[in-house]
Assembly symmetry: C2
Homo-oligomer: 106 residues x 2
DNA sequence: TTTGTACTTGGTAATATGGCAATATAGCCA
DNA sequence: TGGCTATATTGCCATATTACCAAGTACAAA
């Protein structure tokens, strides 16, 4: 059954796609350190509140973040503890990419 | 200097974006196990060869893969060894997401 | 040089994404 | 209830992605 594999890659791609935006990466980074409400995030990100809300919906949709509602406030936080691995791997790729480009310039 | 941080998130987002497609994830998975030429990948992915070639260019652009040319053939391979961490984290998110959804249905 | 194989690149149409403004919804307090 | 604050949703537009076909390049064998 090859169908199942394809669906698995699609599911993974959704997660990667959810992370494929600088604002959302910043938000994940912030929310990993501590939970924050939309207003705080909006200030940090520096975009329109509606835009931030949309980004949050995307991250929540794939399960990367979760909400806790307290009155009129929505506190978001990261659900998984493995994001640091993601980020450090990205840094590795970025660094080796720089090295690779330098080598190819010689 | 907040500018520098923003650029870092943009750089990371490019990597995430490069991975944000099921075919490219499959290709990364395959190329991590062994290097392959475009023809072999095309067969595995099941898309047009030009499409596969473009996906490869995207992955190469961000430094996730590298080429080795042997005559008329182009052998691609993954450059970094930390992709397994990526994939397993994605699985974690997917699993916890399923659990979360089940819980919210109760 | 001609022919064939292996890739890559350019063109194009369909679809998806990202941003802001405007509007809607929800909780709180007077 | 009415008004205020905090979020979420919707509409619309500009831009980005993706896929395929067609055309182009590169290497190799004849």
């Amino acid at each position: 059954m090859k169908e199942k594999l394809r669906k698995q890659y699609e599911a993974r791609a959704k997660i990667a796609k959810a992370m494929a935006h600088p604002s959302r990466l910043l938000m994940l980074d912030l929310l990993q350190k501590q939970e924050m409400c939309v207003g705080e995030l909006t200030e940090q990100v520096g975009a329109d509140q509606s835009t931030v809300s949309k980004h949050l919906a995307i991250l929540k949709e794939v399960g990367l973040i979760d909400v806790r509602k307290a009155g009129a406030l929505s506190y978001y936080r990261v659900t998984c503890g493995c994001l640091d691995g993601f980020f450090s791997c990205m840094e590795t790729v970025l660094l080796s990419d720089v090295k690779g480009r330098q080598k190819s310039l010689k």
